[in-house]
């Protein structure tokens, strides 16, 4: 039987590779924030209170372009919509927890923590403290993110052209690492191929809305493949 502490530490430990992936990302965010005209305090406050890497990136870009605050908030909403899919996925596992647990877990629900924690929740054991695993993962992500954003802000104007080094490659590479464990049967392969194709076809959509459309098409394709597979199996058995 796992204790709270064991779950917490395991969550933090299994998030370690993703901390590495977030580090260049945090550095560039800090560097970009400095050049965007955002104050250091605001850039740090954004990391501390919003805690959403890709939305922060886009926000900093919009600040540099002198976009109105309302547009920045709306863009954040759309870019982060995918997180609602994550909370839907976690719902069956978290619904018995009190709100005092659901609030911090929701605040820390990043792509990375979701990808790590969902594997733990799906594992078939009777641990009652799997939410501590998620908590360990999100706290590790949170502290790591604050640290690298801070260093990015401090070093940002001293490193010439930090954003031109291609450090942004860390994000897709990390996501590929997170993706692979989910691809383990034919319906998920169909899901990935469909979502990937649609993501390229919907690039013209504003505010990265294509991500949401592509995700829904992929989910639908996976579901249909699974149902068709079941039907064929039944027919073979009959």
């Amino acid at each position: 039987m796992s204790t709270r502490k064991q779950e917490f530490l395991a969550g933090a430990r299994n998030t370690f590779p993703l901390l590495l992936g977030a580090f260049p990302f945090g550095l560039i965010y800090g560097a970009l924030a400095v050049t965007s005209g955002l104050s250091v305090g605001a850039a740090m406050a954004m990391s501390a209170f919003v805690f959403a890497g890709s939305a922060q990136f886009i926000a900093v870009g919009l600040v540099a372009a002198h976009a109105p605050v309302l547009i920045i908030i709306l863009t954040t909403l759309i870019v982060n919509l995918r997180h609602m899919l994550y909370s839907a996925t976690l719902l069956p596992y978290l619904k018995k927890l009190p709100q005092t647990w659901r609030i911090p877990l929701a605040f820390g629900l990043t792509d990375e923590t979701f990808a790590v924690a969902i594997h733990r929740f799906r594992k078939n054991d009777s641990s009652r403290f799997k939410h501590w695993y998620q908590f360990g993962s999100s706290l590790a992500m949170y502290l790591n993110w604050q640290l690298w954003c801070f260093l990015g802000l401090v070093l940002g104007d001293r490193i010439p052209d930090a954003s031109g080094w291609g450090l942004d490659v860390a994000m897709p590479i990390t996501f590929i690492g997170m993706l692979i464990p989910f691809v383990k049967n034919i319906p998920t392969v169909v899901c990935v191929l469909t979502a990937g194709a649609v993501s390229l076809l919907t690039l013209g959509m504003p505010y990265k809305l294509g991500i949401i459309v592509a995700a829904f098409m992929g989910i639908l394709a996976g579901f249909i493949t699974e149902q068709t597979g079941k039907k064929i199996q039944v027919e073979i058995q009959v």
Binding site: L38, F49, H83, L94, V169, A195
Partner: protein, 108 residues
Amino acid sequence: MTANEWLMILGMMGVTFGIRYFLLALADRIRMPSPVEVSLQYIPPAVLIAITLPAVILPHGEWHFSFTNPYLVAAVIAAGCGLLTKNLLATIACGLAAFFAYQILLSS
């Protein structure tokens, strides 16, 4: 920090937390129809690929589907490494190393 910056950050925090918390807040009152529940398993791979693929094929906003695109080459190597090792740290390390090595190779 200016008032405008506070407004922006509070607004961004509100929408981000709202999106992440909304369903969880109502968790005990939501009953999912079974097709929806079955479909939940496809959410992570679908979202991850939809973010990743455009990021490596159009790293700077323009279509760049070729061997001279280090993002794409590194992604393919990372994927190969991930499928072989099934290890997250190895996948990330491999992809990053491939990216920087390939960039040096291209510029020489």
